[in-house]
């Protein structure tokens, strides 16, 4: 099967005929449009694109995409997507999930799909709340956060998705704000091109149950000062005036001001996404000031599919069994006359 699209698509080709039913103002609309714009740029045939979701607001996503899709059960999308990809390695497989779906009920599948490095893409809509069930704390909700199931404040410390993912050997991790569609589109395209499991965390605002949860990082007037958008091969400089940067002080990342204490641009850490050692990527994922966005880790490694295919080819080449009859009638058989 030739997987490269010869036909030129537009974003409309990827929109289904279903009416989109998220709450007005939800970042999910931004993500949907960014995906529909990214797909024509990926060069994949529409019939080879599969979206698999679990349960939650985000998981309605496949219904709105004019591709193959499955709205499955809570937390299981990574496992289902694994089966899809193993069955047909030609497919471009996408998992759409949320913080509860991926890291609470589906936590086991989430870490194992990353560990195996199967070539599929996961878009994690992180809004730090359960939306579809109307406002309970999630595994990424903050301590003290008041929700319907934590009226006096949440007592459970949150996961940092990037930290968890990289700990589970994620080779590709990107974080992107829900109000930055252009950057999001680019990250989606790069995730598709990446060979291996790609995880994209979208900081997605829930206008109903957790409004403005990321405002201090993502509002237009603060984001340049509060976010560091990393790019491979470039120094980690941020701020409206490009006057702040990250250096490594001992085992800690430290924010410094360029021009102060003799610090120049050459002192600033240069981002290397394709670094095997995940230590610095982990530190970047954990950092709260600045909040690091962009592609934090993109380390090309052998995929599960490649290992499986190589092994299958080797076994086939060394085997005399071509048909089941060869097996059934081989070895310890005997004849009754």
């Amino acid at each position: 099967m030739e997987n490269t699209a010869t036909q030129k698509y537009t974003f409309k080709d990827f929109a289904s005929d279903q009416e989109v039913r998220w709450c007005p103002g939800c970042d999910d609309y931004v993500i949907l449009r960014a995906m529909q714009k990214a797909l024509p740029e990926m060069g994949v045939k529409r019939e080879n694109v599969v979206f698999i979701s679990g349960i939650g607001c985000s998981s309605r996503f496949p219904y709105y995409m004019n591709t193959y899709g499955m709205h499955s059960i809570h937390g299981r999308a990574p496992a289902i997507a694994t089966g899809v990809k193993l069955a047909n390695p030609e497919l471009s497989v996408w998992v759409v999930t949320g913080d509860g779906d991926a890291m609470a009920i589906g936590g086991n599948h989430f870490i194992h799909v990353l560990r195996r490095n199967i070539d599929l893409n996961i878009v994690l809509f992180n809004n730090e709340i359960y939306g579809l069930t109307k406002g309970q704390f999630s595994p990424t909700s903050l301590v003290g956060q008041k929700t319907k199931s934590s009226p006096y404040g949440n007592t459970q410390p949150p996961f940092e998705p990037g930290e968890l993912a990289i700990g589970a050997q994620a080779r590709f991790f990107a974080r992107i704000a829900g109000n930055q569609p252009k950057e999001m589109t680019e990250v989606f395209i790069k995730a598709e091109k990446f060979k291996g499991t790609s995880l994209i965390e979208v900081l997605q605002n829930c206008v109903i149950f957790n409004d403005n949860c990321y405002a201090k990082y993502t509002d237009k007037d603060v984001r340049e000062d509060k976010q560091l958008f990393v790019e491979d091969g470039k120094p980690m400089i941020f701020g409206k005036n490009k006057d702040k940067g990250l250096i490594l002080n001992g085992l800690k990342l430290e924010v410094v001001n360029l021009g102060e204490n003799g610090i120049t641009a050459s002192d600033i850490l240069v981002h290397k996404a394709n670094e095997k050692d995940p230590t610095l990527h982990q530190m970047l994922a954990r950092l709260k000031y600045p909040l690091v966005t962009g592609i934090i880790r993109s380390f090309e490694d052998v995929t599960l599919g490649e290992r499986e295919e190589a092994l299958t080819a080797q076994v086939k080449a060394n085997s005399n069994f071509k048909k089941t009859d060869d097996l059934f009638f081989s070895g310890e058989t005997y004849n009754v006359k």
Binding site: N48, P62, I80, V84, T324, E332
Partner: protein, 617 residues
């Protein structure tokens, strides 16, 4: 090689049950397998059952470290591994202590006397040596210094360590039993040549000890006579001895080849189902994709993904695993995708008795999901027909676009019997519902009129892009629908779809009598025991007793009610607390129906069945 021609005329028997028992490291599984294979090749009908300790490396000589293998061979039809044994070969005191109960009074026990030292007796919790305290006087005990004789026969073989020498004593026992039952050593010698091709000293040791055991038995005056079991009458053809779990795996291989689909297995290890995974992972040469998942749910979920993408998808498990998979079975039912779920049943509830057999997951298979979620449920009934029913599960899943639960159990899964090898060319056709081209008004839930199965459009097919999901869907477009009447209609359509499978499965048949006073009813893995017992009582003069065994449980064969009403009374025999009997009672009113239930993790014994039948007549 030793030829049987040189020997004296032996006593002729119809059937015999032999149990080899010893320490986990004594090689009893191999010994038993060799004896059963040799007998099968001689032409006997054969059934075997292994009995492993649940501990992986139990302390040597301990009661819970005893490993056994039972072989039932005959010149007559053999349907079970047998209840009581005619010959017990016990390699140590613990093996004797834990298996003596099974020996028929007056029958033979062979022991390795060298293993009955004070330490081993203590480990087996014997206060007195049973060989000398008179406690075995009701048996014919043949005492053999097997370890010493093994060492003696190997004193001139070079390059052997002590461990290898001691470990070959199982061949001494096997040699003796071969002589006693008038068997050639030819097959085993060929087997040893292959197994120890690269270890000449080990090959020489095993061959020498096997022959030593054979000649020892021949010259030993303690063994008064040898026995012969003539070949059984079996249909001509190529046979092999196959274990139930292997047969299940091979049925899937055959179905994949016949349907032209690639086989995908998503599985998580669980006793006693894991051997199906072990078998299928070997067959990458057929393109089998066997995926060991992170848990039971991922096992079935990956299979659902593979089914969506167009593979023949399987997941294998046992009772607790089926419980975990329940929600996903419901999803597959709702998506109307072909999927086979194997449940190799074991003793429940909860963790229960993992290494023992039971039939207590029937109601779970039928009803263990939320909402109205009917699926096909079928059950294999012998080690060999696990092949047919694994194949049949695939055929029905693909032709009816539905999950199929295939029930087997620990007893038939680990048991082995002769299988008349089937070529894929002899197997029934499998028609998939794959669709390649779309008409203008194509919808993913368009159904075939006869089966109500939907069509199967797989990713990669242009212009058939569509979405499926667990939400209720519109009966025409397949889009999400919350419409009340549509929901009711869809529930009824999904139920009717399963009912119509009746048109694609064989009628229920009866054995021994078509009508009469009593119909013995069973399902699944109890076939061998029930068949043997009904046959026996029938032959002893009870001509009004019939036997009906179910392999198809949902839906039931169309003629089920007709068959049941031809008998005055029905006795449903199950290894549970009465599950299939409930199904029959709910489906058919006013049957004169009784039940016999055994819940001990063990199969029915012949005696208890005969007693029950007599009580009912």
């Amino acid at each position: 090689m030793i030829s049987t021609k040189e020997k004296l005329q032996p006593e002729v028997l119809e059937a015999v049950v032999i149990r080899f028992v010893g320490d986990s490291g004594d090689g009893m599984q191999l010994t038993g397998t060799q004896f059963s294979d040799t007998s099968a090749m001689f032409g006997n009908d054969v059934a075997t059952f292994p009995n492993y300790p649940s501990e992986i490396r139990a302390p040597q000589g301990s009661l819970y470290g005893v490993s056994g293998f039972q072989v039932h061979i005959g010149s007559v039809e053999i349907s079970t591994p047998g209840d009581q044994v005619d010959l017990l070969v016990a390699m140590n005191p613990a093996a004797l202590k834990t298996n003596l109960y099974a020996v028929k009074p007056g029958h033979t026990i062979i022991v390795d006397t060298d293993a009955f030292d004070r330490k081993s007796l203590e480990k087996a919790q014997y206060k007195e040596n049973p060989l000398t305290d008179g406690s075995l006087e009701n048996y014919r005990v043949i005492e053999v210094s097997m370890t010493s004789l093994t060492k003696e026969s190997l004193k001139e073989v070079e390059g052997l360590d002590n461990k290898t020498i001691t470990r070959s004593k199982n061949m001494f026992a096997l040699g003796m039993v071969y002589w006693m039952y008038h068997r050639d050593t030819e097959h085993t010698i060929a087997f040893l040549n292959k197994k120890f091709k690269n270890k000449p000293p080990v090959l020489e040791a095993n061959t020498k000890v096997l022959n030593a055991g054979y000649y020892y038995a021949e010259t030993l005056e303690l063994i008064p006579n040898a026995y012969a079991i003539a070949p059984a009458k079996m249909n001509p053809g190529t046979y092999r001895i196959i274990m139930g779990n292997t047969a299940t795996a091979w049925g899937f291989l055959a179905a994949a080849e016949k349907s032209g689909l690639e086989l995908f297995l998503g599985s998580y290890p669980i006793t006693p189902a894991t051997d199906i995974l072990h078998e299928l992972v070997k067959h990458k040469h057929f393109g089998v994709k066997a995926f060991q998942a992170e848990d039971e749910i991922a096992g079935i979920s990956s299979a659902i993904g593979a089914a969506f993408a167009g593979d023949l998808a399987i997941t294998t498990t046992s009772g607790p695993g089926l419980a975990l998979k329940g929600e996903a079975v419901g999803l597959a039912m709702m998506l109307e995708l072909p999927l086979v779920i194997v449940n190799v049943q074991r003793g429940g509830p909860s963790t229960g008795l993992p290494t023992k057999t039971e039939q207590s997951d029937l109601l779970q298979a039928l009803y263990g999901r939320n909402g109205e979620s009917p699926v096909i449920v079928i059950a294999a009934s012998t080690p060999a027909n696990c092949f047919n029913f694994a194949y049949e599960a695939c055929r029905l899943a693909l032709e009816h676009m539905t999950p199929v639960i295939l029930l087997t159990d620990g007893y038939i899964a680990n048991g082995s019997a002769p299988w008349k090898v089937r070529s894929v060319s002899e197997m029934p056709n499998i028609n998939t519902n794959l669709v390649k081209h779309a008409s203008e008004d194509w919808h993913p839930y368009d159904r075939f009129e006869d089966t109500l199965a939907r069509n199967w459009a797989i990713p990669g097919t242009p212009n058939l892009e569509h979405r499926v999901g667990g939400l209720e869907k519109d009966k025409v477009t397949g889009n999400v629908s919350y419409d009340p009447e549509n929901h009711q209609e869809m529930v009824l359509i999904r139920a009717e779809k399963i009912r119509r499978v009746q048109d694609n499965i064989p009628d229920l048949t009866t054995e021994f009598a078509e009508s009469g006073d009593l119909l013995v009813v069973g399902w699944g893995g109890t076939y061998g025991g029930l068949h043997t017992a009904v046959k026996q009582i029938h032959e002893s003069g009870y001509k009004n007793i019939g036997f009906a065994h179910f392999n198809y449980i949902n839906p039931l064969p169309e003629n089920t009610e007709n068959v049941l009403r031809r008998f005055k009374k029905i006795l449903v025999c199950e290894l549970n607390n009465g599950q299939f009997v409930k199904v029959l009672k709910v489906n058919f009113e006013n049957l004169n129906i009784a039940q016999f239930n055994k819940i001990q993790g063990l199969p029915f014994s012949n005696d208890e069945l005969i007693q029950q039948f007599k009580n009912q007549l």
